[in-house]
């Protein structure tokens, strides 16, 4: 894969600009609320501008190859380098992380959750931003790992300090789960490193030489990575941190978690695990697919059982990431395209849903579905937005969700060579049934919250969507519709990159 090294400073700037913001924030006096918010806002805007610059200068004709590549010595002793670059897979997620952070910052301007302390809150948020963006551009396993881990602590504190009643339990659970995964992942990375001749941690290098590893070893190494990434996704047996984390996290936390953090795992599969270890991937694919469809149905059941709006949305993430993983498990470029698209779509939609949940909580002071109702009469705009997002989330054609879901199901009909067709076709049917459940729980939610007449308690403070919320939400809503109508905007970027990634499987 050839590298394009034109203005290779862009990525570094875009990634570490938030750190500058952090330093500025540290010197801003804690009392000066306005200044703090201004700094945070400006930083994230600047970051997004750099992102736009990246987008503009991105050579779409060569979306398949790494661009803005920068590579310098970092830890020569262990042959790890500071090696970054974006291709068609990274770019959408990279930009998504920037945009979402900006929107979250905007939303936070007047929604700093208790116990306040915006300074610390924004510092953590910007740290998160660096970690997330870095993970998507890292082309060196060690660098990837560092960024991957960098995300942990800020999120831990965001949940633990600004979260709900169970926050401490939830945050610790989130942390231990993820750390467990990444510890084994690190071991797997090292094993990969040594099995490929201890030459380099650079992903392209490993992709070239990984296939040479004995199949047996590959399977074990993949196991390590699998646990690391599957926890993050999260896939079926490793998912239980997600509902707690989501439910307890402050709105901003949930949004970032849903929109970006979950993608780190799936991205890891697409970028690292599968290309570097093709034989193991073939071995593992049926299991991944199986867990994925279990996750789809299981998540749906989880949703149906919920009485709490936010928790329901959280469980729906399990189901949706199931679709993504199903697409990945087919090891066909068609399926992986769907998966990458699904990541972005899920990021937009579920992020949006969590925004709404936050605003609902703020207005009704509860997320008990039973206590909600008649939102359309009290806050019609909020209600309609919720409707739109539910529809998008249940995969309605013409909205972004569909293009992650339908092609993923489609792709399961004929997976890559070497995979058992019958198994995957049965997966396909189960997944298709999963879409019905999706419709069931989302519409059920919508019917119970938005329709009907408002429940008794007075909502004197009940106002419809306000300016900050509009500013923070509109981009997401527009994106949901745009990508739904013109999916090629994404697919044309993703496709070539994925083709390259899956060259080991004949595309």
């Amino acid at each position: 894969m050839q590298m394009i090294r034109d203005n290779n400073w862009v990525l570094s700037v875009g990634t570490f600009l938030p750190i500058v913001g952090v330093l500025l924030l540290l010197v801003t006096p804690k009392a000066n609320d306005a200044a703090i918010k201004a700094v945070a806002l400006l930083t994230s805007i600047a970051t997004v501008l750099v992102g736009v610059f990246t987008l503009v200068n991105f050579d779409f004709d060569q979306a398949g190859s790494m661009q803005f590549v920068a590579q310098t010595n970092w830890i020569p002793v262990i042959k790890s380098t500071y090696f970054i670059g974006v291709d068609g897979i990274s770019l959408p997620l990279y930009l998504l992380s920037m945009v979402v952070t900006l929107l979250v910052v905007i939303y936070s301007l007047d929604h700093v959750p208790s116990p306040g302390n915006p300074k610390a809150f924004f510092v953590l948020m910007l740290l998160l931003q660096t970690g997330m963006a870095g993970t998507f551009i890292a082309q060196d396993l060690i660098l990837f790992f560092v960024f991957f881990e960098l995300v942990l602590l800020p999120m831990y504190f965001m949940i633990g300090v600004w979260g709900g009643e169970q926050r401490q339990y939830a945050s610790l659970k989130f942390f231990l789960y993820t750390m467990f995964g990444s510890a084994l992942m690190l071991v797997a990375f090292l094993a990969l490193f040594f099995k490929t001749g201890a030459e380099s941690f650079a992903i392209p290098y490993l992709v070239e030489n990984g296939a040479g590893i004995a199949k047996n070893a590959q399977v074990w190494i993949f196991a390590g990575m699998f646990i690391g990434f599957a926890v993050k996704v999260p896939m079926f047996p490793f998912h239980t941190w997600l509902p707690d984390a989501h439910t307890q996290a402050p709105t901003q936390g949930s949004v970032i978690l849903a929109a970006i953090l979950l993608k780190l795992g799936t991205y890891g599969f697409v970028r690292i695990a599968i290309p570097t270890l093709p034989d193991a991937a073939i071995e593992w694919a049926p299991w991944i697919g199986g867990l994925a469809v279990i996750g789809i149905i299981y998540g749906a059941f989880g949703c149906l059982a919920q009485t709490d709006m936010k928790r329901l949305i959280a469980f729906s993430s399990v189901a949706h990431m199931g679709f993504v993983m199903l697409g990945i498990s087919t090891l066909t470029s068609f399926g992986v395209n769907a998966a990458v698209f699904g990541m972005v779509a899920h990021g937009l939609i579920t992020g949006m849903l969590f925004f709404i949940a936050g605003s609902v909580k703020e207005r009704y002071h509860t997320l008990e579905i039973a206590k909600l109702g008649g939102m359309l009469t009290q806050a019609p705009r909020l209600g309609w937005i919720l409707g739109l997002c539910s529809m998008a989330s249940l995969g309605l054609p013409g909205l972004a969700g569909f293009w992650g879901e339908f092609p993923a199901i489609l792709s399961a009909y004929n997976p890559a060579d070497g995979l058992n067709v019958t198994v995957f076709r049965s997966y396909m049917v189960v997944a298709a049934i999963g879409t019905v459940f999706a419709a069931a729980y989302l519409l059920w939610l919508y019917q119970r919250t938005a329709f009907g007449t408002p429940k008794g308690h007075d909502h004197h403070d009940l106002h419809d969507v306000n300016t900050h919320e509009w500013i923070a939400w509109l981009p997401l809503l527009i994106a949901i519709v745009t990508f739904g109508v013109a999916p090629n905007l994404l697919f044309s970027i993703i496709d070539p990159a994925v083709q390259g990634t899956l060259s080991a499987f004949g595309g």
Binding site: P397, A432, S492
Partner: protein, 772 residues
């Protein structure tokens, strides 16, 4: 035999309208966006945008239809009239290219025209009907998008766009049925509708996937089309290539989708509940759009079903069986409804049954023709019902409680209703006769006698229940609201249009002026539809001979082999290379189920029964029998019952003496009640109804309940206890381990020293032994 390519026929004409048929869905979509954005600020609250946009698409559709007729006219008698296809790449992924585009042929233009036409009228009608409604603008937005969805589905060139339109309709039906969602019943009905249809959609998803992967290779190599393209799939289905099981699976899956959408047994239960929506919605849903989509799917991908389900084969196929069951069950259900809209809903279900029956029996053209005629008179009937409830029965739809004797008050509505009823019953010369009788005729003609009998029985029942409904509504004595009595019918709130502001608006005039004719905006559409209900049958009046069979000429694709290299010039310009006789039987044509030697078939060869008046008279007789019988019974049962006497016989003993005298007529009533009517309607209908509510609905709700229960278990026990429990348990174990090994840390030097040396000694011992 294949002719030499030298004999190229003159290229077919295609005009601007045909080229731009794709605009028909686009315009309403734009309209929808405009309404959403600016509707509230418009003088007429956005309704004008809706009406205008649909008017525009109506114009386009008519133009397309006209130009299509010309195109067919140009074509030689047996030339293959290629569809006007335009495609644009939408997106590509993993080497698969997804195109979006239009596919205009006879079927398209017919349905396109019908949909645009009826949508326009319904919008006009709604201007008046929903005036003052709280969500006037939302309503028009949804209505417009709804039509757009249907139109998109109709012009769709490939299955993806088809699916898009299909789902958009589902969404809009959810919004429209639940329009008055303050009432829990309505929102539940909306949910039920969407969910049921969505269940069917699994079939569509699976079907599309299977077709795509099965056909893609063949279509790309032979036609340069993707496996999503409709004509590609059709050609593939007829090429003899497909493995029979694969295509069977595909056909079944797609048919499941059709069942869900077209309310076929056993997924029809959502339809009557959907009556919770405003009447215009019901009329649009049940005449030309939503429910027709399923039938349209089957008609559109006919070759797939033709091959997959072995239509015209010796044995009866699943489509016919389902259709037959639907016809009878639905018709019988119509008897026990007191809600006029529910009667119409069930009649729609049974009419859809007819269409399916026709398709299943290989009577493609009659089925499509029935879509055409049915749209007009069914829409008309619904609008009449709406008009009644709007102006006469104080927004009630209860025939027994709030109607009766309205013919005097609302002549136009009454006339339109009568005409449409006759059409629906299939009375000569109303439109319904030509289409429905044609179906029955062909079913018989293709040798499915049993299903023909079922069809006749259906006709009888149809006639009967429609007569009953007519009598209850327009004849006899005025009752309840129709008689000026005003009580708010919360009892059947679910079935009524309780849209308070609206009701409030009309409270006043209803109060002094009792039942009256509706305004022009309501009557005009009704009148127009009524006229069409009479004459639309003439578009394919088989009884009057070949020259009248316009539909056959214009709409039916000609089953001829097209040179396979024709895709070089785009599948549009195809050479006709073979002219099989399309007259009797299907097996002579190379476009049967067997492979054409070379070249491509786009449509299967179906047969046409030759019309015989004898057969027609039989069915007419059946219909009349139904009407007369039902009339007599209804008149006696509902008409001559005298409330005062009923009351008296219970009241005082003196009257009980003269009771026997007076009772006789009530013996009659009882006789009718328990005897004749009872024997017809009672066991059958009630049984069916019971089955419907308890079993089918039961199953539906049961499934919902079960899955919810399962969900509970999965969540509470498995997720929280097992999976999560394991995690927390491991934490506890680790902590517990701490306590168990705590004695090590006793704090006593002696113990420490002992431990130290003991370990050293043991280790030394072990390694000494190991190393000697």
């Amino acid at each position: 035999m294949i002719l030499a390519a030298s004999e190229i026929l003159s290229p077919l004409r295609d005009g601007w309208f045909l080229q731009h048929a794709w605009l028909t869905p686009v315009i309403p979509t734009v309209g929808f966006v405009l309404i959403v954005l600016f509707g509230k600020r418009m003088p007429k609250k956005g309704s004008e945008i809706g009406v205008l946009s649909l008017l525009a698409s109506l114009v386009l559709a008519s133009g397309a239809a006209w130009q299509w007729i010309q195109r067919v006219g140009d074509a030689g008698e047996e030339q293959f009239v290629s569809p006007v296809v335009r495609t644009w790449t939408w997106w590509q992924s993993g080497g698969v290219e997804f195109t979006i585009g239009q596919h205009v042929d006879g079927l398209t233009v017919v349905v396109l025209f019908v949909v645009a036409f009826i949508s326009t009228l319904v919008q006009v009608y709604s201007l008046e009907y929903l005036r003052g409604d709280r969500r006037y603008t939302h309503f028009f937005a949804a209505l417009t998008l709804f039509s757009a969805g249907m139109l998109a589905m109709v012009v769709a060139e490939d299955m993806i766009l088809f699916l898009l339109g299909w789902e958009i309709m589902g969404l809009c039906s959810f919004m429209l049925i639940g329009h008055w969602w303050e009432d829990g019943a309505n929102s539940r009905a909306a949910l039920k509708a969407f969910f049921t249809v969505r269940t069917g959609d699994v079939g569509l998803l699976v079907g599309i996937s299977v077709l795509f992967f099965a056909a893609n290779e063949w279509t790309t190599t032979h036609l340069g089309l993707s496996g999503f393209s409709i004509r590609g799939v059709s050609a593939w289905a007829l090429s003899g290539e497909p493995n029979s099981t694969v295509i069977l699976v595909a056909a079944i899956a797609l048919f499941v989708a059709a069942i869900g959408k077209s309310g076929q047994f056993p997924l029809h239960t959502w339809l009557p509940d959907a009556m919770a929506g405003p009447t215009p919605v019901s009329s649009l849903l049940h005449s030309s759009t939503m429910v027709v989509a399923g039938v349209f799917l089957v008609a559109r991908l006919y070759p797939v079903f033709f091959t997959g389900l072995d239509i015209l084969g010796p044995s009866s196929n699943v489509i016919m069986v389902i259709a037959a069951i639907t016809i009878v069950i639905a018709a019988a259900l119509a008897f026990v409804q007191s809600d006029i809209k529910r009667v119409l809903a069930y009649s729609t279900v049974s009419q859809l049954g007819y269409m399916m029956l026709g398709l299943g029996a290989g009577a493609w053209l009659p089925a499509v023709f029935h879509i055409f005629t049915h749209a007009f008179f069914k829409a008309c009937l619904f609008l009449c019902a709406g008009s009644v409830s709007h102006s006469a029965s104080h927004h009630s739809f209860d025939m027994k409680e709030d109607m009766g004797g309205l013919r005097k008050h609302m002549p136009v509505t009454f006339a339109a209703w009568t005409v449409s009823t006759l059409a629906l019953c299939g009375v000569f010369p109303f439109s319904g006769f030509f289409s429905k009788d044609e179906i029955i005729d062909n079913v018989g003609g293709n040798g499915y006698t049993f299903f023909m009998v079922v069809g006749l029985g259906g006709a009888f029942l149809t006639a009967a229940y429609m007569t009953r409904a007519t009598y209850l509504t327009f004849f006899g004595a005025a009752r309840g609201a129709a008689a000026g009595v005003h009580e708010v019918h919360d009892a059947h709130a679910g079935a009524h249009d309780v849209h308070d502001t609206h009701a409030g608006a009309h409270e006043a005039d209803d109060a002094h002026a009792g039942p009256h004719e509706s305004g022009i905006l309501i009557t005009a559409p009704i009148a127009i539809l009524a006229v069409l209900a009479i004459f639309s049958g003439l578009f394919n009046a088989t009884p009057f001979g070949e020259s009248w069979e316009y539909m056959k000429k214009w709409v039916e694709p000609r089953a001829v082999v097209v040179a396979s290299e024709s895709h070089s010039g785009g599948p549009g310009e195809a050479f006709v290379v073979s002219v099989p006789s399309a007259e009797s039987g299907h097996s002579e044509s190379p476009c049967g189920k067997e492979t054409p030697p070379e070249g491509v078939c786009y449509a299967p060869q179906v047969s046409h029964a030759t019309f015989k008046w004898s057969k027609a008279l039989i069915s007419l007789a059946v219909v009349f029998a139904g009407i007369v019988l039902s009339w007599v019974l209804s008149a006696a049962l509902y008409g001559r019952r005298d409330p005062r006497l009923v009351g008296l016989t219970q009241r005082n003993g003196l009257a009980r003496a003269g009771y026997r005298l007076l009772a006789n007529k009530y013996y009659l009533d009882d006789l009718y009640e328990r005897g004749v009517v009872g024997s017809i309607t009672g066991p059958l209908a009630r049984g069916a109804y019971w089955f419907n509510q308890r079993i089918l609905d039961g199953i539906l709700h049961g499934v919902a309940g079960i899955s919810r229960a399962v969900a509970q278990v999965v969540y509470r026990d498995i997720d929280q206890r097992l999976v999560d429990g394991a995690v927390n348990a491991s934490a506890d174990v680790t902590k517990a381990a701490g306590t168990t090994v705590q004695p090590i840390q006793s704090g006593r030097v002696g113990h420490y020293g002992a431990l130290l040396f003991a370990t050293a000694a043991v280790a030394a011992l072990v390694f000494v032994i190991l190393n000697t």
